[in-house]
């Protein structure tokens, strides 16, 4: 058994991610990332001619997309649809929680 000590860190939210970075971190191919962009599941922060740049939020979405694709055996369109439903649920849960913490016990 080895013991290693390392710094856990959040992603630098200011740092833009290139298409290749996002593919590398998520386990999706660049083509799959672009397909999710086409379906609206991933939004590039800056899509100039020939260059797609993402924010770090895309890493979580893309990693979830890879899990859903592999573990539910879904086509990219099904993945995009499920991601949008999960995103809505997460937003609603966050709103509910934000309201709950403001209520006295």
């Amino acid at each position: 058994m080895t013991t290693e000590r390392d710094e856990a860190f959040g992603f630098d939210e200011e740092r833009p991610l290139a298409l290749s970075d996002l593919a590398d971190l998520s386990g999706l191919s660049e083509a799959e990332v672009l397909e999710l962009v086409d379906y609206g599941a991933l939004s590039p922060a800056d899509a100039t001619a020939g260059q797609c740049v993402f924010t770090v939020r895309a890493v979580t979405i893309a990693r979830t997309a890879r899990r859903l694709r592999e573990e539910f055996e879904l086509e990219p369109h099904g993945v995009a649809l499920l991601l949008s439903c999960l995103d809505r649920i997460r937003d609603l849960e966050e709103q509910l929680r934000a309201l709950q913490v403001r209520l006295p016990r």
């Binding site: 013991t3 000590r5 856990a8 959040g10 055996e73 913490v101």
Partner: protein, 310 residues
């Protein structure tokens, strides 16, 4: 190596068709997949189901699994001599390996992992772990210990389970639900590929006093009716020690009194706020003197809080 009954895990007969196995897997994945399920122990159940399906959906792996024969779940087993070579794996050693690694190893000769990078190497596997920390630990930063079991493969594709103890520093200002990354702490890369990462999902444990929303904290603050009416300075606990808070005269129940910058730190050096939610607390019993004063107030006051209901 302990036996797992993959057929029982998926709830199918040993002679189930490929279609029946797929259907059973999909039904269980809908129920237990951690991205869509709220079931208790969903993650552990899904892992078991996914492991069973990964073996039974592949004809070659299923044939190898079937050769192990039926056993009781948890029973210690050793594959028969020559078992590995029959399925393309040479010189298998079955120490420190569990059944999932063994069948992952059968895929070794077909190439495993995901090819990445310009070097053409195979990138190490990423791992995901969850850790629950206290609000105080999120405020100060903390260190957590993770026990991971990474699977490594030798040059013949024979798997080996490698336990690893990783200590990770959690920086202050982490938010509930935030995912942190430990670069290079996942599975070992092969053929020049880089090592995988560990993704650490951080959850905040419920706190006795504070409720957390993003980096803001919410605290119930009971005050007496006369403190609310007359105003008062009260001592309240913050994560950095007690502070005095001025309750303005005429404060109503439910008012949010804000202490700017007394919440959890944010990654960019700022901090969330602490909100004290005012509750008007009544004594369980009034002394004779208190009752007399309240009766005097009731007789003297013309205040009607229910005028809008009339």
């Amino acid at each position: 190596m302990k036996f797992k009954d993959y057929y029982a895990i998926l709830g199918v007969e040993r002679g189930a068709t490929e279609a029946e196995i797929k259907k059973a897997y999909r039904r269980l994945a809908h129920k237990y997949h951690p991205d869509v399920s709220k079931e208790k122990d969903a993650e552990a159940r899904f892992k078991e189901v996914a492991e069973a399906y990964a073996t039974l959906k592949d004809a070659e792996k299923r044939a190898a699994y079937d050769q192990l024969g039926p056993h009781r779940p948890g029973e210690e087993i050793r594959p028969p001599p020559g078992w590995g070579t029959q399925f393309g794996e040479a010189g298998s050693v079955f120490e420190d390996v569990d059944l999932a690694d063994l069948f992952a190893g059968l895929a070794g000769h077909r190439g495993r992992g995901r090819p990445r990078g310009a070097s053409g190497g195979v990138r190490g596997e990423d791992y995901e772990a969850r850790v629950a920390i206290t609000v105080e630990e999120a405020f100060h930063g903390t260190e957590v210990s993770l026990d991971l079991a990474t699977t490594e493969f030798d040059e013949h594709g024979v798997p080996r389970r490698v336990p690893r103890h990783v200590k990770a520093r959690i920086p202050k200002g982490v938010a509930d639900g935030q995912v942190l990354r430990l670069p290079g702490q996942g599975g070992k890369g092969a053929h020049g590929g880089r090592d995988g990462d560990v993704y650490l999902a951080v959850a905040l444990r419920p706190h006795r006093l504070y409720r957390v929303s993003d980096h803001d904290l919410f605290l119930d603050l009971p005050v007496t009716p006369w403190e609310a009416a007359l105003g008062a300075t009260v001592k309240i606990p913050t994560l950095a020690g007690s502070v005095n808070l001025k309750v303005p005269a005429g404060t109503r129940a439910g008012h949010h009194l804000r202490l700017a910058g007394r919440g959890l730190p944010t990654p960019r050096g700022g901090a969330g706020d602490l909100y004290a939610i005012v509750q008007i607390a009544m004594p369980a019993e009034l002394s004779a003197r208190e009752r007399s004063l309240v009766e005097e107030l009731a007789a003297a006051s013309t205040f009607n809080p229910r005028r809008h209901l009339e």
